[in-house]
Structures are given as structure tokens and as C-alpha cells.
């Protein structure tokens, strides 16, 4: 008996039906713009790939950019001073960093709250007492907390990139997005209208413009390790720092992964050979 249609044509019919119909209509809805206007640019990161490592110098520079610029508006609630040892700081250095901050503690035996010098076990204090205070000082917009931001942002990769990503281990959506955003401010094109008090940025994920003014510029932070004091460098450094803050065990995870992979590959090979040997024993 002849098949009604071959397997391949069958598949094609279905695929084309689906793609064709959705494609035709997708063209029609081209009028509602999709954000971000531009896809994030892919930068090269020391922590990318299966053997990714932190560049501790970069993380320390990023932390410097955070404390001197970003921390004026953005908190980093989940990070305690003790965590900063992950950036390569010694115990004494961490203590010294903490000592620069005052935190509220208490109540004491009289029932009063009091200020004291921070210790490594304290969380890094944020710039505002609460979200409402943060909004009030920022024209109604809430500057997001930095602790998880590098994992909480990411632009959809779309087909077929998301398939390739499985094999290339692309997992730097967050830092790529942040880096593109920080370096992506530009003059708004004449045909795009942006609302009062916002700044045009084609990389912004939720609209044509955002409430944050361009935060960094060439020379805004002094580096003491000789790294270039440019917007690009600041942006990359702080993005890397934010990735560390969001995923402090990233490098531990990848190096453990390598051992697990080697183990599983050898184990699988041994199992395969054992299986071959066992099945060779079956008599017909």
C-alpha cells in the first residue's frame, strides 16, 4: 500500500501551516514596537564558558564603581560585607570596608535603637530607608536592588539562537544586557517620542526610554590598578560585579561541573563496555 504522503511532506505541511499563518500576521502587527529596540551586544566575559573564572581585579573595580556611583540610588540587600572576601579581599580588608559604614542596631536595654560601626556579618546598607523613600527621591521610579539583577534581566534570544545556546553554553544574558544598557544611551531619533524626564536607550527592555540618567561617563571613577578609566571599562566591570553578586558560586559550580562530567563520561564508557560484554553472551 502506498503511503498517502511521505513522512517529510507531512511534516512540512504542518510546519508551513503554522509558520506561514503566524508569519503573515506577525508582519501585520509590526506597528506595535517590541522592546528592546536593539538586542544586547555580546561582550566577552572571563566567567563565560565551562572553564569560566572570575577576574578578581575586575570584580574589585566593579565594586568600586558600585560604591562610588551606583550605590547612591541602588541597594544590594542580599550581600553582607563578609561576602566581599569572594572578590579577593582579605579578612582585614573586609573589616576595614565594613568599618566605613554605620548601621542601625538595637533595641538596647533602654529600648532605644542605636547606630554602630558595621561588622563583616552586616548586610551592606542601602541608600534609602525603604522603597517609598527610594521612589520619592527618584521621580517615582524605584531603582532596582542589585543583588540578583544580573539574573533577573535577560532578553529573549529567539529561534534559532536559543537552540545553539544549549551547545555553546551561553548564559551571559544578564551581564550582556546590563553592559549594553549602560553604554547604550544616545540621542532619541526624531520619530520616537519619549516621556518627560526619561532617557532614550534602545537596549532598555521595557520601553524606548528609562528614568535612570546615564550614570557613568569616561573618568567618573578613579581606578588604582591602571585599568582604563572609560565608560566601556566601568560598564563591563560593574556588570561582572553584578553577575558575581547574583551568582557568587558560579565558578565553584563550573569547576565542580567539569569533575562531574569527566566522572560521568568515564562511567558511561565503562557501562557501555560492560553492557556489550554481557549482551555478547546471549545465545540464539
Amino acid at each position: 500500500m502506498k503511503p498517502i504522503f511521505s513522512k517529510l511532506t507531512g511534516l512540512c505541511v504542518v510546519v508551513f501551516l503554522a509558520m506561514g499563518v503566524s508569519g503573515a500576521f506577525a508582519a501585520e502587527e509590526g506597528e506595535t514596537p517590541h522592546y528592546p529596540i536593539k538586542k544586547p551586544r555580546e561582550a566577552s566575559w572571563s566567567f563565560a564558558g565551562p572553564f569560566g573564572k572570575w577576574d578578581l581585579g575586575q570584580l574589585q573595580r566593579g565594586y568600586k564603581v558600585y560604591t562610588e556611583v551606583c550605590s547612591a540610588c541602588h541597594s544590594i540587600d542580599l550581600i553582607a560585607f563578609r561576602n566581599l572576601s569572594g572578590l579577593g579581599y582579605s579578612e582585614a580588608q573586609v573589616k576595614a570596608i565594613a568599618a566605613e559604614y554605620e548601621v542601625t542596631d538595637g533595641p538596647d536595654e533602654d529600648g532605644e535603637m542605636f547606630e554602630r560601626t558595621a561588622v563583616p556579618s552586616d548586610r551592606i546598607p542601602g541608600p534609602f530607608a525603604n522603597d517609598e523613600a527610594a521612589k520619592a527621591s527618584n521621580g517615582g521610579a524605584l531603582p532596582p536592588d542589585f543583588s540578583l539583577l544580573a539574573k533577573a534581566r535577560g532578553v529573549e534570544r529567539g529561534f534559532p539562537l536559543f537552540v545553539f545556546d544549549v551547545f555553546t553554553m551561553y548564559a551571559e544574558n544578564g551581564p550582556d544586557y546590563i553592559n549594553s544598557l549602560l553604554t547604550g544611551y544616545q540621542e532619541a531619533p526624531t520619530h520616537i517620542e519619549i516621556s518627560e524626564g526619561t532617557y532614550y536607550n534602545p537596549y532598555y527592555v521595557a520601553g524606548p526610554s528609562l528614568a535612570m540618567a546615564p550614570p557613568l561617563d569616561d573618568g567618573s571613577v578613579t581606578y588604582d590598578d591602571g585599568a582604563p578609566e572609560t565608560l566601556d571599562q566601568y560598564s563591563k566591570d560593574v556588570s561582572a560585579f553584578m553577575m558575581w553578586a547574583a551568582e557568587p558560586f558560579l565558578v565553584t559550580r563550573k569547576s565542580m561541573g567539569f569533575k562531574v562530567m569527566i566522572y560521568l563520561l568515564i562511567f558511561s564508557l565503562l557501562l557501555y563496555l560492560t553492557k556489550k560484554k554481557i549482551f555478547a553472551g546471549i545465545k540464539d
Binding site: A18, V21, F25, E29, K151, G154, M169, R253, M256
Partner: protein, 431 residues
């Protein structure tokens, strides 16, 4: 093929004593050592064992996570971050658990499609199949509630959308919804009961898995030929070492994929929005479920029209209820699959037409998944409607019709014949 008599011989005084009182070693011996399996099982048959191990992995990592997790709207998000940052190897436990859920579904979909390809649901294995569908349903409920626990934006809004389905039920819908939520909206009581149920359901899955395996051991396994075992000696091999070593190999290869995601792409299958604390005042731009629910989500959203009595304004089923019915129906239809497929031949290897329709069905399911991840507007909805119609047509029209229309190929008289024929053709030199 259950073997009938037991071949277990207690070897020492203790096992003899125990055998007369609680023959547990005999049960294990008969089920996992002497149990005869068809000799021609291929790699696709290892997914049953893989699923059993994944269930155990999920339970172990889950129990550890529950020791550190705080089920309250104020504490849940931070407790998960505490696990990720401060609990020893907490990051590993959580990554294993979250990605394990995805791998569990990946394996179960292969297992289900394998059953469909080889006609494993047919007489006399209907109950075995139905128990499997029941496990799948329990898995879906467990995974859904588990995704709510980290209390991120997708957790909260996913829970809001899914529990909203119940309000589509006529008359009592809202009452049921509020009873399930423990309030008027998703909140602290909802999170608490979801945590409780998320801990309970896996053990119910264990129970149904036990029945599933029991049913399997009564009827015996199918095999790629779909022909029942006729000669136990020639056509079966003992479970240990033959099936054991094959399952171990399958499991080890599966773990390589699992580890790839856990260690190198742990957030690949998640959504960035779930790293944002739940906020009932801020709706995410797109609310999407986890990837394993996407085909069903596409079916839900495909029903955008009301069904009314022709030439009147009386709406019988509004689009919301219609969507929920279609989604529930898309899973419920699996329960009656054994009776919808009218063909007497089990394996797709001997069903040239069914084989093609099977692959079309696989592609349709994957495309529905892709559509589920897209916004529900314009052409995506129309494509989802066409594919949803095809999904149901596959079960309700194509399968019953094929059994009558299709002329199957010659089925081998026995497994032994099929194996020997394969060996002799393989042995012939290439031309």
C-alpha cells in the same frame, strides 16, 4: 509473562526464616533479578528506570531544601536566596531540584511518546497506561506548586493565572477558586498549602508508580515488535544483568545532559522574572509557564471564541471556560487512548501510515509548545487554533480511522523470528 513460579532459593538460615514470615527478599528477587524481559528492548525502554531514579533525586533534594525553606510570603524569596548563598551546597541542591523537574518532564515526554510509538497502551496494558497518565497529572500538579514556592514574579503570576481557571467553572467557580486559594487572591495561605501539597504529592506519585510497576509486572513489557513473548526461554532475558546494565547506561548518559544544565546552564530553562520578588501590583509583560506546560498553555489560549447556540445570543461556553475545557481535555483524552486506537497491530514499525502520523503528532506538540511561549495575538493564535484542532483530530479522527483504513505490514510471528531476521540481514555484506 510474570513468570508464574518463583525461582528464589533462600540461601541461609536468616533468609529462610524471613521468607516464611515476610518474603521481601523473594519479592525483590522475582521483580528485579529473575524478572524476564524481552531480549529485543531498545534504548527508548530505559526511560522508565530513568524516571524512577529522577523521582528519587527530586524527593531527596526536595527534603533537604524543605529543611531550609520558609513558607511565608515575607520569607520565601529570601530563604531561597539563603539556600543559594549560605547553606552548604545549597546552590547545588536547588539547581538539582529545579533542573531535575525539567529533566523529569523531558524524560516523561520521551516515555509517553515511546508508549505511543510502540502501541504500549493496547490490550492488555490499558490499566498500566492509565496509571501512567495519572502519574503525569500528579507530576504536573506537583511541578506547578513547586514553581510557586520561590515566590518570584512568575511564581506569583503563574499561580494567579492557573488558579484563575477554576473561576471559569459555571456557578460554583469563584467559590472553588477562593476555597483553593484560602482567600480572594494568591497570598500567604495559598503559599502555605502549596508547600504542604508540594511535599505530599511526590509520595502519592511513589504510590501510583508502585501500582504502575505492579501492572507492568503482571502483563510484562512490550517490545519494539509489539508481538507478545511466546517462548520464554528463547525470547526473554533475566532483568539482572541484562536490563539492569542497560538502564544504568541510559541513566548515566541521561545524567550527562542533566549535569550539563545544572552546572553550565542552570537558568536556561527558568525565567529571569522569577529572580524578582513577587509583587501583586506589578504584572510581568508576558506571563509564561515553565517549558513543559507550554503545549497545554497554547491549547488553553487557542480558544478565543465563545460557543453559542446558532442564530441566538445565548452563549453556551464562553472562551475562558472553553479554553480550560480544551486544556483539560487535551490531557484527559490520553486516558481513553487505548480505545481510540482501533488498530490490532501494536508497533508503529508495522504500521506505515501510523508511523507518519505519529511523527506529525510529535511535531505538532513541539510547535504548540513554541506557540505557548509566544504572545497570544495575531497569527500565533490562529496557528495555535489550527494545531489544537489537529491535536484533537489525531486522537478522535485519525487514530480510529487508521485502524480501519491502514493495511499493516506483515507482523513477525514471534520476537525470536524478528531478532534472527534482523541479525541475518545485518550479517549480509553491503552491496
Amino acid at each position: 509473562m510474570s513468570g508464574g513460579h518463583s525461582e528464589y532459593n533462600p540461601s541461609n538460615g536468616f533468609t529462610k526464616w524471613l521468607d516464611a514470615r515476610l518474603p521481601l527478599p523473594r519479592f525483590v528477587y522475582d521483580s528485579f533479578i529473575a524478572y524476564p524481559v524481552p531480549r529485543n528492548l531498545n534504548g527508548w525502554y530505559t526511560f522508565g528506570a530513568i524516571l524512577a531514579i529522577m523521582l528519587i533525586v527530586q524527593i531527596i533534594t526536595g527534603v533537604v531544601l524543605a529543611m531550609h525553606y520558609v513558607a511565608s510570603t515575607a520569607g520565601a524569596f529570601n530563604s531561597v536566596e539563603f539556600i543559594m548563598r549560605d547553606v552548604n551546597y545549597g546552590w547545588l541542591m536547588r539547581r538539582l531540584h529545579a533542573n531535575g523537574a525539567s529533566m523529569f518532564f523531558f524524560a516523561v515526554y520521551i516515555h509517553i511518546f515511546r508508549g505511543m510509538y510502540y502501541g504500549s497502551y493496547k490490550n492488555p496494558r490499558e490499566v498500566l497506561w492509565i496509571l501512567g497518565v495519572l502519574i503525569f497529572l500528579l507530576m504536573m500538579a506537583t511541578a506547578f506548586m513547586g514553581y510557586v514556592l520561590p515566590w518570584g514574579q512568575m511564581s506569583f503570576w503563574g499561580a494567579t493565572v492557573i488558579t484563575g481557571f477554576f473561576s471559569a467553572i459555571p456557578l460554583v467557580g469563584t467559590t472553588i477558586q477562593e476555597w483553593l486559594l484560602g482567600g480572594f487572591a494568591v497570598g500567604n495561605p495559598t503559599l502555605n498549602r502549596f508547600f504542604s501539597l508540594h511535599y505530599l504529592l511526590p509520595f502519592m506519585i511513589v504510590g501510583v508508580v508502585a501500582l504502575h510497576v505492579w501492572a507492568l509486572h503482571v502483563t510484562g513489557q512490550t517490545n519494539p515488535t509489539g508481538v507478545e513473548v511466546k517462548n520464554m526461554k528463547k525470547e526473554t532475558v533475566p532483568f539482572t544483568p541484562y536490563a539492569t546494565i542497560k538502564d544504568f547506561l541510559g541513566l548515566s548518559l541521561f545524567f550527562i545532559v542533566f549535569a550539563w544544565f545544572v552546572f553550565y546552564l542552570p537558568d536556561y530553562m527558568g525565567h529571569p522574572d522569577n529572580y524578582i520578588r513577587a509583587n501583586s501590583l506589578k504584572t510581568p509583560a508576558h506571563i509564561v509557564p515553565e517549558w513543559y506546560f507550554l503545549p497545554f498553555y497554547a491549547i488553553l489560549r487557542a480558544i478565543t471564541f465563545n460557543i453559542s447556540i446558532p442564530f441566538t445570543d445565548i452563549v453556551l461556553i464562553n472562551s475562558k471556560l472553553g479554553g480550560v475545557l480544551a486544556m483539560v481535555g487535551s490531557i484527559a483524552i490520553l486516558f481513553v487512548l487505548p480505545w481510540l486506537d482501533t488498530s490490532k497491530v501494536r508497533s508503529a514499525s508495522y504500521r506505515p501510515l501510523y508511523k507518519q502520523f505519529f511523527w506529525v503528532f510529535v511535531v505538532v506538540s513541539v510547535l504548540l509548545g513554541w506557540l505557548g511561549s509566544k504572545p497570544a495575538d495575531g497569527g500565533y493564535v490562529i496557528a495555535a487554533q489550527i494545531l489544537t484542532a489537529y491535536y484533537f483530530a489525531h486522537f478522535l479522527i485519525i487514530l480510529p480511522w487508521l485502524g480501519w483504513y491502514e493495511k499493516p505490514k506483515q507482523v513477525p510471528p514471534s520476537i525470536a523470528d524478528a531478532v534472527l531476521k534482523k541479525k541475518s540481514t545485518a550479517a549480509q555484506p553491503a552491496e
